[in-house]
């Protein structure tokens, strides 16, 4: 499923990011990594998805809806 569809307040693991190099690299530098845990904090139907990489502390990242649709995730316990 995509990050956009996933439920909030759950642990997710990113499996695949479908986007061009620039954006994948930017994601990488801000802490969105393949095979790593990601928590979806909040989902704003009018706008972005809010995620948190627990390894990187409490700072949250807002990701565009379009972008969230390109990030494949699976539930992880």
């Amino acid at each position: 499923m995509t990050l956009s569809e996933a439920q909030t307040k759950t642990n997710l693991k990113i499996t695949y990011i479908e986007s061009d190099d620039d954006i994948r690299r930017k994601l990488l530098s801000m802490g969105i990594h393949i095979n790593e845990l990601l928590i979806k904090v909040n989902d704003n139907k009018f706008g972005p998805v809010l995620v948190l990489n627990p390894l990187y502390g409490l700072t949250k990242l807002a990701l565009d809806r379009e972008l969230a649709e390109k990030i494949q995730v699976e539930y992880e316990n």
Binding site: N44, G47, Y56, G57, T59, R65
Partner: protein, 642 residues
């Protein structure tokens, strides 16, 4: 300030929001503005500081997540580190984000430049139950680590002492981080290729070798050509073995180095309950309640500025009137002296009595909310709306800064990766009423039209921006890829908002008053020489025929181009009145004029910055749309209201 080229340079480098500008301010006396969102430090801020009787150049580099630039702000930082003679790097780290920050620390260590780590925001990390063992971290990195709380100046003395030690040390020997074997082999091989050529860059060959493999576009063409064949071989090989491309492979390895170090040096106290502020944040970002809070925020900010502004102007009025009564007797004895004095004094009175009362609460309240970190939440909440006009949430930050002043707002567009989107945002920023214009709008509203009209004008301007943005973006494709950091919500210190207000006040007194006194003087002279008539005649078709306003307002438009708040001050001058409530204009005329002045042209400093950042074409573009919009809008207001 002219900065001597022979001075040695200390650069503060770190990720956005690490507190670099705060530290810079503590270390120097100049007050660069700090803000709690990414990308505020976009123009190079530098100053001279004294450490034990030696002068150094201190520079506050734009925040960067890594040394692989994604936007112009990050590019500036990398360019500076590579090309300038940096003698010491202070790598500032937000201690609540240790592992993410260390990724860049590893990269910075690879540059080979002497370095010290400032472990900042100790107050925050303690509050969150994060403990970092300084000695262990020093062992891992083999460079000094100094815990500090920049906002309170704590630990800064130690930091300076350590800098001074390092600057006089002849050798430094930081940790070397090895990549996995076959990556490392390629790095070593590239390094030996680079060793055949002397470079005049400020960084180590190892750093250049890694970059030649990882991100060759940042190197000059000579180095790129030299390493292009090995880059090709390595890229193919790594992609085959790791199934990630070489850029990502290196990033992942650095990331793992950082995580490993973090695991060793950091301990987390388990938390029974989430702190209140984190719960509050859930509400502020909530898909429904978030918007309720946003609305409340606007109402609160608006009413506070209005109420405080009104109170301040009433208080200021008393001494201002008193001073006026002192020279009034001159009128009988020496009329010439009286008119000259009066001309200049009314300029001052207009600035202090009319503009300042609204400017001060505006700056104070806005920077208070900036300090809490709320502005990034606003960006998050209205990203959806921004998409509708073809921009994304990143433009929100510059837009919000635009309500303060267009100049820093235009610099802040550097955080926008996409060039076209950046240009669109920058061209729209001059349309946003800056604090100078807002003060004018508030003052006129307070004196005559009432607060509701202010809301209407804001609303109107925002709609205009939306429409124009929509039209321009039709030609530029859809924005994708907002990735915006939402820093932790903070209880703001009152110190910084007051400091910023003071800075703004000083700037206002220095620059605005100078212009005002000169302006009033020139205005008085032109009137004396009957030149105003020609200026007014020149603008008359526009001002009086089309817009139906008093012809005398023509000359104020020239002053408004210099600084927007001059319009209102010169207005009282031009019409020969002592205060705004006796303005000989109908409310409809006032509103028509206000909307025209708000939109009609970027002010001089804004134009200069637009030129510097984008060249003439964007000035031309931005000016053209603003003039057209000012006309159309003023006409709309005129016809609807009369």
């Amino acid at each position: 300030m002219k900065i001597n080229d022979k001075l040695r340079t200390i650069a503060i480098v770190g990720q956005p929001n690490a507190g670099k500008s705060t530290l810079f301010n503590v270390l120097s006396d100049t007050k660069a503005s700090t803000s709690n969102f990414a990308g505020t430090t976009v123009d190079l801020k530098q100053t001279i500081i004294n450490i034990y009787n030696e002068s150094f150049r201190l520079i506050d580099l734009p925040g960067s997540y890594s040394l692989n630039p994604n936007d112009k702000a990050e590019q500036v930082t990398l360019d500076y580190i590579m090309n300038e003679q940096v003698d010491l790097i202070i790598n500032l780290i937000d201690s609540t984000l240790l592992s993410r920050s260390l990724v860049m620390t590893v990269e910075l260590i690879e540059t080979g430049i002497p370095m010290i780590v400032g472990l900042n925001m100790l107050d925050e990390s303690m509050a969150h139950g994060i403990f970092i063992n300084k000695q262990l971290l020093e062992q891992e990195l083999r460079i000094p680590v100094i815990p500090i709380t920049a906002i309170f100046g704590k630990g800064v003395k130690n930091l300076i002492d350590e800098c001074s030690k390092l600057l006089s040390a002849s050798n430094h020997n930081p940790a070397k981080f090895d990549y996995s074997a076959h990556l490392e082999n390629f790095v070593v091989e590239t390094e030996s290729i680079l060793a055949t050529k002397t470079s005049n860059l400020n960084v180590s060959d190892r750093f250049l070798a890694i970059k030649a493999l990882e991100y060759p576009v940042i190197l000059g063409s000579d180095l790129r050509n030299l390493t292009s064949s090995i880059n090709k071989i390595a890229s193919e090989q790594i992609l085959k073995d790791h199934k990630f491309d070489i850029f990502e492979s290196i990033s992942y390895e650095r990331h793992h180095i950082a995580i490993k170090i973090t695991d060793k040096v950091q301990t987390l106290k388990s938390r029974h309950e989430r702190p209140l502020i984190e719960k509050l944040d859930d509400w502020l970002l909530h898909p429904f309640w978030g918007y309720v809070f946003l609305l409340l925020y606007f109402i609160l900010q608006f009413s506070l500025i209005f109420i405080l502004g009104d109170i301040i102007s009433k208080i200021i009025e008393v001494p201002l009137d008193f001073v006026e009564s002192l020279y009034t007797p001159l009128k009988l004895n020496s009329p010439f002296l009286y008119y000259m004095t009066n001309g200049i004094y009314q300029g001052i009175e207009g600035a202090i009595g009319v503009v300042l009362p609204y400017l001060l609460p505006l700056v104070l309240i806005t920077s208070f909310f900036e300090e809490t970190g709320y502005i990034s939440r606003v960006a998050f909440l209205i990203d959806g709306f921004m998409h509708k006009i073809g921009l994304h949430g990143k433009s929100v930050v510059p837009f919000i800064l635009g309500f303060g002043c267009s100049v820093p707002a235009i610099y802040a567009t550097r955080i926008i990766e996409n060039k076209i989107e950046r240009k669109i945002t920058a061209s729209l920023i001059p349309l946003i009423p800056c604090s100078a214009r807002i003060s004018v709008i508030f003052a006129l509203a307070a004196a005559r039209t009432g607060p509701l009209w202010t809301v209407l004008i804001f609303f109107y301007v925002i709609i205009i921006i939306a429409i124009v943005g929509k039209i321009i973006s039709k030609f530029s494709g859809k924005p994708i890829g907002l990735i915006l950091e939402i820093p932790n919500l903070k209880i703001p210190s009152l110190k910084i908002p007051f400091q910023k207000t003071k800075t703004k006040l000083m700037e206002f007194i220095r620059v605005a008053l100078l212009y005002l006194v000169l302006g009033s003087f020139i205005m008085g002279m032109t009137e004396y020489l009957n030149l105003t008539i020609y200026i007014n005649k020149f603008f008359s078709p526009l001002v009086s025929t089309i817009l139906g306003l008093p012809e005398q307002l023509g000359s104020t438009l020239i002053f408004g181009f210099l600084r927007k708040e001059l319009v209102i001050v010169m207005m009282t001058q031009a019409l020969g009145i002592s205060s705004l409530d006796v303005l000989p204009m109908t409310n409809a005329q006032i509103l028509t004029f206000t909307i025209f002045v708000t939109l009609y042209l970027p002010c001089l400093s804004t134009m200069l910055v637009l030129k510097r950042e984008f060249g003439r074409s964007v000035i031309l573009f931005s000016s053209t749309i603003s003039i057209i919009l000012a006309f159309l809008s003023a006409l709309v207001f005129k016809f609807i209201l009369t």
